[in-house]
Every structure is written in structure tokens, then in C-alpha cells.
């Protein structure tokens, strides 16, 4: 069929508009990236867009020489690794036990966990709880409250159920117990969904900063996102920047400005996400559809 001129016009406008959308989405990232890779003194002249004028890694060098920032980066990596591994393993264990309808008290356990998706304790009751059980101001406050996610449990369980029964039953006949079946059959056969859920949990852990704000006071527990938040928050920024300036001057790095360091931290907080998110994207739609059917 011959295309009408209106259709061609529509296509052109559509592609133009979507290209504009891509630019609007990417520009802020590229702008800050250029800023972080540009000589700090040169940046003060202004006028930077998406390309560094005087290329340098000096701004990043500062992050890796400033103790508070190293500690924060280590804490971010630690909580992401520990939080992701523990959450995926525990949620998978629970999901496996709930694939067995003959489990003692199955109906009770099943609704007990599903209901947690709709429960919301609120900030203050949660705060009081963490204080009462001495989770407040410890590293575990990042890990234990996120151990199980009922939503992820449903996703995993749906996936576990697609593994052929014959495989599991023949293992039982050969004398295997549930521990063996879980670790040697179920987990290896579910790596795609485990990886997807793991990446989602990891992104959440890496991006989280509210729990640091609400439930910790110890400087040692600060994460990268929290430090960045403190620099943003204008009421708290002064002290931090002075501290940083003093530290920079001591090491003869006066050429670096707090603004440039801020851009470098922003990029360090962003890049890990940029690296992993293309891997999750092919499961996005599938995961969301399962969720919308079950949720």
C-alpha cells in the first residue's frame, strides 16, 4: 500500500520527538561526566556541555585518597554484596519450601508471607523495633530487614515450578534429600531468574540511603549515597566541604574544587548501575507481567 504523506510526516515527527527524549534523558549524565573529567579550575570558567575541555582524572584521584570517601565506598560495596547474596539465598530457600504443597502448615505459611506484601509498619514503629532488638546503628540494619521479599519469593517459586518433577523425583529415588535437590538441582537450573532478582536487589542496596539516615548515627556506617546526600544537603554541606578542602590542601591538591569532587562522587555512585542495568533489561517486561498477574 502506498504511504500517505500524513503517515510520513507522522513518522518523522515521532522519531524526532523520541530522539529529543533520549537527549533530555542522557544530557544530565553526560554533562556531569564531562564536569567530573574536566580540570577543576577550568570548570569554574563555566560553559561546559557534554565534552571535557581539559581532560584529567585528578577529580577521581581525590576520592581514592580521601579516607572518608574510601570508607564510604567500601561500605557501599559491602552492603551491596552481603545484602544481595543473603537476600537471594534466603528468598530462594523460602520459595523452594513453599513449592511443596505437602509442607506441614503450607496454607498458613503461604498466606503469612504473601500478606507481608501489604503490611506497612511506618517509620516510627520500625525505628522503635530496630532500637528494641539492637539492630539500630549496626551494619545488620542494612541486611536483615531486607532478607525476604515476598514479591521475589513469588517470582522464584513460579520459576522453580517449571523445573520438571521427574528430575527431582529421580534424585529422591537415588537417595537425595531436599538440601541436595535445592543446591544441586533447583539453584543451578534457575540461574537466569536468580541473577535477575539479584541484580534488582543489588541496585536497591547500592542506591539506598534512607536507612543510613534513619537508622544509623555511626560515621563508619556511611555509604557513598549517604555522603553524596550530605554534600547536597545545603545545611550540612559547609562542614564537610571545609574538611575536604583542608584534606586536599594538606596533600597539595588545591587545584581540585569541592564542586568537581561532587561530580566525581556522583559518577562513582552511578557507574556501577550503568554497568549492570543492560543485563536486567531483557527480563523487565517478563518480570513485570508475572508480577502484575500475581500481585
Amino acid at each position: 500500500m502506498k504511504q500517505r504523506w500524513q503517515d510520513t510526516l507522522f513518522d518523522v515527527c515521532n522519531i524526532g520527538f523520541l530522539t529529543l527524549l533520549m537527549i533530555v534523558t542522557l544530557y544530565p549524565f553526560l554533562h556531569v561526566l564531562a564536569f567530573s573529567l574536566n580540570d577543576a579550575v577550568d570548570s569554574m570558567r563555566g560553559g561546559l556541555t557534554v565534552w571535557p575541555r581539559k581532560f584529567t582524572f585528578a577529580n577521581y584521584g581525590v576520592i581514592f585518597r580521601y579516607d572518608a570517601l574510601i570508607d564510604a565506598s567500601v561500605m557501599s560495596v559491602l552492603r551491596t554484596a552481603a545484602g544481595t547474596l543473603s537476600s537471594v539465598l534466603c528468598t530462594a530457600m523460602l520459595a523452594y519450601s513453599l513449592t511443596k504443597k505437602e509442607l506441614l502448615g503450607f496454607k498458613f505459611f503461604n498466606s503469612f508471607f504473601i500478606l507481608t506484601m501489604f503490611l506497612y509498619g511506618g517509620l516510627i514503629p520500625t525505628f522503635i523495633l530496630f532500637k528494641t532488638i539492637h539492630l539500630y546503628n549496626t551494619f545488620w540494619v542494612y541486611i536483615i530487614p531486607g532478607l525476604i521479599s515476598a514479591f521475589n519469593m513469588i517470582l522464584l517459586r513460579t520459576n522453580f515450578k517449571t523445573i520438571p518433577d521427574a528430575l527431582i523425583e529421580s534424585a529422591y529415588i537415588d537417595g537425595a534429600n531436599d538440601l541436595y535437590v535445592f543446591f544441586r538441582i533447583i539453584l543451578p537450573l534457575s540461574t537466569p531468574i536468580l541473577a535477575t532478582i539479584g541484580l534488582f536487589v543489588a541496585v536497591g542496596q547500592w542506591n539506598s540511603w534512607q536507612d543510613t539516615l534513619f537508622f544509623t548515627v555511626n560515621d563508619k556506617l556511611q555509604t557513598l549515597q549517604y555522603v553524596l546526600m550530605k554534600i547536597l544537603n545545603q545545611t550540612e554541606a559547609g562542614a564537610m566541604i571545609n574538611q575536604m578542602k583542608a584534606s586536599l590542601a594538606r596533600r597539595g591538591m588545591v587545584k581540585v574544587t569541592p564542586d568537581a569532587v561532587k561530580m566525581a562522587i556522583t559518577m562513582v555512585a552511578t557507574v556501577p548501575i550503568l554497568c549492570v542495568y543492560p543485563f536486567i533489561q531483557k527480563y523487565f517486561v517478563k518480570g513485570m507481567l508475572i508480577g502484575s498477574v500475581k500481585g
Binding site: V32, K100, F112, N207, S208, F284
Partner: protein, 320 residues
């Protein structure tokens, strides 16, 4: 393997029943080990805080605990309703979340419609991949990106506006109280539009292609097909998502107001989330902050119920 039939045998003698239950526990010890500890976890981390709502009716004292603190009835609710800030808080919260819902839905549906019309697979996938990138970035980073972009000293936006001759002096965007809602809504939509569009795109892919063919035969153009076929077909999805989002009308989000708000725009940035945080954790008014949280929860539940009823009256599917 065929497991022993589940449940207790009704006719069997009691002793035998007990031993069979015991045998079952022994047999399932690994499965139970995979389940029971997490049930304890859920009881502590998901169910115990619910009990904490009682604090809203007490003068909670950390020394005495929930069991020992004196009861005060509805005192904290009364205080909240007489609070001077109440009007400002509710206005900001509702304004930001309603704008969010409206602009966010229109934006996501439009993006899905436009993407649905793209014929090149590569271009479509590229746009999608880029458009949901911001969803995965933390709000702290996003706030920093926009503070840089909109900065009065060297922000790109001010530079462009000056060059175009639209303004003579740089604007301090985050210092203008009246702009705050719109900036926050723009940033929220920028962050989530690509992600929100996914579900609409999925709904559109389920539309029967015969409908489009029939419309083409009748001479309908692209716009008419979008308006008369695609949109009506995804209406149920839109309605369900709208209903679910109305219950969150009193949750405008902690992140935007906390990260982007400052004393200059306080009058327009303070929302219930940040107020609960400041009162509860900042001033240690635990009971008062809990009461506000409970008030919000109750309003959400009522809204969810009402909207669901209205949708049912209008002939839409019942979502709950």
C-alpha cells in the same frame, strides 16, 4: 516420589495421629528449616511493627515501652488537626502527588503510544533502553544532576535561556517557592516515564492486529487508529494503575522534598513524609509522628475503597 498423604488421618487413634505428625516433621526437617526461621523473621520485621501503631494512642516513653506507656486516646490526632502547618502540609502533599499521577500517566501513555508506532526495531529498543535508565539511578544522584543543570551560576538551562534572550538574569530555580512542585514533578516524571511506559507497551502488544487492519480498510489514519483502537484497548490497564496510585495520594515521597527542598522553598516543599521524619526522629515525638502515619494509612485505605467502588459503578473491572 510419592509423599505420604498430607494431613492427619481422621479415623486413626490419637496416639497414632501424633506419631504420624511427628514423623512428618522429621521427614520434612529440611523444608521446615527453609521456612520456619523466615516465618519468625516475618513475624518480627513485618508483623511486629503493625503492633507499634498502638503508640499513636499513647504518650510513648522509651523507658516504659509500649506495654507501660500511658494511654492518651486521640490526643495526638487532635494536635495534628489543630497544627498550623496542617493546611500547607496537605496542600503540598496532595498537589505534588496529584500532579505526579496526572502528568506521569499522560507522559507514560504518550511515550508508549509513540514507541508503539515506531517501525524500526533497533531504534525502538534504543529509545526504550535509554528511557528507563533513570529509573535505576538513586534519587540522590538524580537530585545532584538537576541541581547542576539548573544551577544559577553555570547551569545549562540558564545558559540556554539567556542565549535565547528569554531572561536577563539567571534564575535560581530551586529558590523559587512557586516553581518547586513543577520542578519535582518534572524530575519524577523524567525519572520514571520509561519504566512506567513498559506496562502500557505490554498492554498494547496484546491488542488484536485485525482491528488495525479493519480500520485501515475503512481508511483510518495513524492518529485515528491510536485514538479509536489503541487507547480504548489499554483503558483497563490505565484505570487499574490509576486506582492503585490514588491510595498513595498522601505519600508524595520523602526523597524529592528532603533532597531538593531548602529553607527558601520550605512553604511549598514540606510534605507529610518529611514532617513525620522531622517530628518523629528529629524531635523524638514518637507518638505524634506515629499518629500522623496512622492517619495517612487510614485515608489511603478509605481512598482505595472509594475509588474502587466508583470505578465499579462506571463499569470498569473491579481491581481488588
Amino acid at each position: 516420589m510419592n509423599h505420604v498423604p498430607s494431613g492427619l488421618v481422621p479415623g486413626a487413634p490419637r496416639a497414632q495421629q501424633q506419631s504420624s505428625a511427628w514423623r512428618k516433621i522429621k521427614k520434612q526437617k529440611i523444608l521446615l528449616l527453609f521456612c520456619v526461621p523466615f516465618a519468625v523473621w516475618a513475624a518480627i520485621f513485618c508483623y511486629a511493627p503493625i503492633w507499634g501503631w498502638i503508640m499513636a494512642f499513647q504518650d510513648y516513653n522509651a523507658g516504659k515501652g509500649i506495654m507501660g506507656s500511658p494511654w492518651v486516646g486521640l490526643k495526638h490526632f487532635r494536635t495534628f488537626f489543630q497544627e498550623e502547618m496542617l493546611y500547607t502540609l496537605l496542600r503540598n502533599t496532595i498537589a505534588i502527588s496529584v500532579l505526579n499521577i496526572v502528568v506521569g500517566t499522560i507522559g507514560a501513555v504518550s511515550l508508549a503510544l509513540l514507541l508503539n508506532e515506531v517501525k524500526g526495531v533497533f531504534f525502538k529498543r534504543t529509545v526504550q533502553t535509554i528511557s528507563y535508565l533513570p529509573y535505576f539511578i538513586s534519587y540522590v544522584v538524580v537530585a545532584n544532576l538537576f541541581l547542576t543543570l539548573l544551577s544559577p551560576t553555570d547551569g545549562t538551562v540558564n545558559r540556554i535561556l539567556m542565549k535565547l534572550g528569554l531572561i536577563d538574569e539567571p534564575i535560581f530555580f530551586f529558590g523559587e517557592p512557586h516553581l518547586f512542585w513543577f520542578l519535582v514533578v518534572f524530575i519524577n516524571v523524567w525519572k520514571s516515564i520509561g519504566w512506567d511506559a513498559i506496562i502500557y507497551i505490554a498492554a498494547m502488544s496484546a491488542v488484536d492486529t485485525e482491528l488495525y487492519d479493519a480500520a485501515s480498510v475503512d481508511g483510518a489514519g495513524r492518529w485515528r487508529k491510536m485514538w479509536h483502537i489503541t487507547l480504548p484497548c489499554i483503558r483497563p490497564t490505565i484505570v487499574v494503575l490509576l486506582i492503585l496510585s490514588t491510595s498513595g495520594i498522601l505519600s508524595a515521597g520523602f526523597d524529592p522534598s528532603y533532597l531538593l527542598g531548602n529553607p527558601m522553598v520550605y512553604e511549598y516543599s514540606e510534605v507529610i513524609d518529611t514532617y513525620v521524619y522531622r517530628m518523629g526522629l528529629g524531635n523524638a515525638m514518637y507518638s505524634y509522628a506515629t499518629a500522623i502515619g496512622l492517619f495517612r494509612l487510614i485515608v489511603s485505605l478509605i481512598l482505595l475503597y472509594l475509588v474502587n467502588r466508583i470505578a465499579k459503578k462506571l463499569g470498569e473491572e473491579n481491581v481488588l
